[in-house]
Symmetry: C2
Amino acid sequence: MWCNKSTSIGREDKRAPCRAARPHPRPLREVLPRAGCLLPGAARPRSAEALPAQQDLLLAAAFVCDAQYNRNIPFETSPQAVRLYYLYNHWTMQAATYFFVFVNLSLAVFEDPAVYPLPFLATSLVEVLCLLVFFSRLLHFAKVTPRNIFWKDAKNICLMMAILVALTDLIIHGALKICNITSVRYSRIMRPIFLVNFTESRQMRRAFRSIRNTLPEITYVFLLFMFSVLMFSLMALKLFGDRNLQTVEGSPYFTNYLEIVFDLYVLVTTANSPDVMMPAFDFSWWYSLFFITYVIINTYIFMSVFLAVVYNNYRKHLKNEIRKLAYMKRHKMVEAFNILKVKEGSEFVVKESQWKQVVKLVAPEISTSHRELLLRISDDEQKGYVDKKSFVRLADLLNIQVITMKIRSHPLERWLPHVYNSASSRFLRSMVRHKRFVWIYDVIILINAIFIALDEENPLISYAEWAFLSLYIIEILLKLYTYEPRTFFAKNQFWNWFDTLIIIAALVATILNAAFKSTSKYNGQQVLDIVFILRVLRLIRIVDSIQRFRVIMNTLINIVPTMLTFGGLALVVYYMFAIIGMEVFQGKIQFFAAGSTDPHALECGNLALKDSTFARAKYCKNNFNDIASSFIVLMELTVVNQWHVLASGFARVTHQAAKLYFIAFHIVVVIMIVNIFIAFILEAFFVEYSLEKSEVETAIEKKIQELGVGVQEEELLDGKLIDNMETTENNLEGDGIKTSRGLVFKIASKRYRTVDALLQRMFEAEIPSEDEGLSFDEILNLSPADLYPKSPTFDSAA
Amino acid sequence: MWCNKSTSIGREDKRAPCRAARPHPRPLREVLPRAGCLLPGAARPRSAEALPAQQDLLLAAAFVCDAQYNRNIPFETSPQAVRLYYLYNHWTMQAATYFFVFVNLSLAVFEDPAVYPLPFLATSLVEVLCLLVFFSRLLHFAKVTPRNIFWKDAKNICLMMAILVALTDLIIHGALKICNITSVRYSRIMRPIFLVNFTESRQMRRAFRSIRNTLPEITYVFLLFMFSVLMFSLMALKLFGDRNLQTVEGSPYFTNYLEIVFDLYVLVTTANSPDVMMPAFDFSWWYSLFFITYVIINTYIFMSVFLAVVYNNYRKHLKNEIRKLAYMKRHKMVEAFNILKVKEGSEFVVKESQWKQVVKLVAPEISTSHRELLLRISDDEQKGYVDKKSFVRLADLLNIQVITMKIRSHPLERWLPHVYNSASSRFLRSMVRHKRFVWIYDVIILINAIFIALDEENPLISYAEWAFLSLYIIEILLKLYTYEPRTFFAKNQFWNWFDTLIIIAALVATILNAAFKSTSKYNGQQVLDIVFILRVLRLIRIVDSIQRFRVIMNTLINIVPTMLTFGGLALVVYYMFAIIGMEVFQGKIQFFAAGSTDPHALECGNLALKDSTFARAKYCKNNFNDIASSFIVLMELTVVNQWHVLASGFARVTHQAAKLYFIAFHIVVVIMIVNIFIAFILEAFFVEYSLEKSEVETAIEKKIQELGVGVQEEELLDGKLIDNMETTENNLEGDGIKTSRGLVFKIASKRYRTVDALLQRMFEAEIPSEDEGLSFDEILNLSPADLYPKSPTFDSAA
């Protein structure tokens, strides 16, 4: 199981296995009594007395883990269900699901029309296997969830239908194939459903819900917009229809109403500006006012209104969903507390030992000292128990990435202390730490950039490349000599990792290329391409030297994980359109390589394209003949420019109605998806701008400071840490926490927080901390105070 | 003087003369002692005793008027300065300034290169006249303002410099012209300065300040973006440079670094997608990944980041400026209060008589009953005086457009009561009021739309047009018969006005067209065009029948006034670029009409354009040969598509460096101005979404309800008003306010509030009402809690 992106704070943490679900060997065995065949002997409880306590702990830990990762799969609290639930969330199960989802999607590469053709039998067997896996996964989920909740969830019904339809379709298609009848595999369009509904892609589902919720409002704006387009088209017909004007191609200008509507719709996307205006403009410059008015109203105002409506709805629904999540988290934590609570004086509390066991179960990988730190925060006065308020905070505490690190001396210092501490070595190290070292390398990078731009053929330049490569390698070696290697390659040292990987890759590729060049006749173009790209990528490092650039880059890096969700969203829509496109346009347009002698090479193998703009612009390779080409064409359509040429081209080889496919794509992708993407980036930036430390983070930091085991991030970055060792050490010794010498904590840098986590924190502040939280049903029924109350489905909170 | 758009709530009110500055005859004469030559006898005060009181009232009224219209010209409080200040704000003076600003700007139409050429002497005489007017206006302002404030204001210094430079330039140019030396009139670029700095275009100045304040932040993002473009260009050079690929035109593909940078910069604007990719894509589909990555990073992410940065800054600075305005208003009202206050018991108050006189001075045009209503709100308990808190609210009270209307019986009812109240007449009126009447006319409009689309030549259709026209006229007559005409044509009945004007214009134009057709050989194409446009515009009315569309339309209509500000902003930038463009490209490209026999007609009269994409696309009319053409070309550049073709075309006829002009235009207009425009529309929509009634409005409404003189807007719209007369009348009689029979008030519809007013109210809620307000200097020094503290200039609040 992959950790949920939205709540794990670390960027690298994204792919970190979920702690509760990948417990260390012992808990796993305890957790999986049914998997006893795999881990024999583990199924038997150790003692009849210990069992219920153990069971309670497991249940409580399941609740805390759910709260931590913002999952809200409701599970039955029976021992069997809890164990199945752990298994369901086990990372191997999740990974397998992801794997089969992608196998299922990638079948399009091998099915006819294929990039790499495989026989029908092979692909259909794989598909059946995938569907079986999906079905068993769904069955597993049904076992875990209470029956009434399972059947209320539209997601599950949808999955079942999809599996059924895919199987039926496959069987029919197979049967028809045997009888040599070709049929359309329409169920392939439904494959992305598995990606959306199976995986932990909560953000993707949220984006889809956002689209669904925005639909009523956007529809009215769209109708008004279309009304405006139709009105202007009517005006254009009356104004220009009888003028006998001609387009550049010599065809009559603005005489057919439907064509005018299409032309003016294209003008909204600006793709045929100013060409569509030129004949009228040539006739009289007054007519340009018509087009300018049109563009201002329809392109600038209406498109901005679309963005405003999409953005406003996005924000409204996001807020509601995050609020739901926050309530849900509180609810789960209270449930866990209620399982573990014992009466202590007048209030209910959780015993320290219980608390520790739960934390061990939930986050087995955190260090003892980290756990002690969290305990000290939760049990501030060291009373031996944790009260309710502090316990509820546990999920947040676990979510904050506290980096525990041992301040280690450099390995060389341990092995060769005399050499490492000699005067010349000290001088070298201070030199490397100096700012001018960075500057010198910045200058080297700039010189390198110039050399790259120069001609490769010159042997001198080719040698210079080797020189630069060695300079970079020397830099990394010097840094490794100066800084402690494990600190240098800490999880959050993005640029160190980046540098080193690029340099090593470049070294390997350059050597390979040189080897190819000297020994064989193979010109190694692919390797050379990689070398070129790596060389240029090296230059990016200069950005990190300039403070202002670093800030912008950090914000951008910060929103990358969530941007990947939009990649997923785009993938789903692209996939569906690609499948449809392939069914409709496959084979109609052929591409012939440059030297082809085919008589119809210039017309893309289709006489209908003779003298078309499509053929003249040499767009033959833009076709739907396989999934890769389809995706590239759809990308071009997303960029919008020249989409009318593509649309007209495909309409010529099939039917005028084919333009509807392209218009539909424009509406769905450019008006909806791209606007949601922009809305998301705007929101992400605004959240970044209004960023403050959360209450919980402040509490942890305060405690770290109190205990004197903190370290400032700046110190780490500048490598001052080791220089400060002497002063830090003294503070550590006297402390109650048994920290080993040189152990420090720090809160992970702001750089590695995801937008989702930030948003959640923003809205959490609105919930009063004393609030017990709403009941489970109440939470699910929360809806934005909006005009369009939606029916409360379980899906809407998943 | 035009009322300040930002505070007058009514949309129509926009052009209403400022009340305080257009006092009714008596105050005007009293106000203008210096203009005694114009109004003899007025300069003499009536009595030595009355003078100071009168003077105080004038001063207080000036403060209140300033507060009401959010002006903050600081004026000296000496009697002379106050009178000059009134004169300065007099509507004739403001109108004259506007007139000369536009005359000055429109000189570009007549100067060489001219649309309508005039001799140099004529244009330069007009220009000198304009400059003289500007100078005297500035001198007037200097007389009003305290000297130290005048000289601290960058705006004034800037104006003085502009006048000086323009004069010098004109003289030099004239002198050189006499010696037959042609020189460049570079000072023409500075003409928009007068538009920005002279007029009451606070929003335009705010937009410019917003741009200035955003510059540092946007510059860093832009540099990072350019770095990315340069890096990708380098990669492209290495990947494709040695492949011997060719573009569609047959020129070498991606071999020159600078050309690659330009091509990839164009790709960011999507204008050459997918053409720029095709050669590489034809070679291998893997290379398309390079371009897709490029587009995602630079077009989608960076352009969104630009929007985010611009939007964030826009919001931040807007908030700060509106907060300043709100403080300023409070400050002015307190000043006015302090002038008028007298001690009453333990607190200072303003006497009722004084209050009335001030209101009369500030808003002479409001009715006595309206004034009584305001007094009843300000002096809730009828104590005979207004306390400070209520007095300070006066400016807001005056800003709320309370529509006083007499419920009049229909004129026909008075003249021909028997006929009008007969059974058939009653039936007719109830029919017109019925919903089905609207539906029937909606159907008629739809049928009309179909007829418009059909062929004009058919005589049947031509007759049908007359039938439709009469149907519409009958509709209006019927409505006028049913509803009281003055209610029907009330200020805020937008659609009634729209309908009537369109129909009357169509009637006139159709008759004119028929007359032309039958009598002369002149085919009246212009008139026919207008007829066509009016016919189609009539169809818009159908939008108003659908509730949801009406809501969206209202929001759009609501933001029109502020959008005009952006029109002004665009005008300024366009003007500057147009002047530069004309100097550089004038005459290089010629347009030859379709039948031209010129041998170089196909190359736009310039051999350098032979075989260029520019000439092939027949773009010859896109040139900088006069200001109108320049504006159209700049509009095309704003729309972005094909801008690289224009840029390359103009670079061919001049120099490659000419591309910089087009890139600069793209950066300034598309990255800055268009984004600010989008930010503004987004903000306007969000404000509309979160709209609530203000505290003051609620107070007025409550009082209106209390007094039983209110009327619901819905009643008015549905025409139910007159039906309810009987019940309303009774309530009115017994009331303390001497309302004439049938007089009612209502708050102007939400539809007519400007975004600026809404924003201001939003932020005003944040200022505690007891707050005395900051001092004048403190207000001016308010700055957003941002990263870039700007130096406090007076200009920044003007």
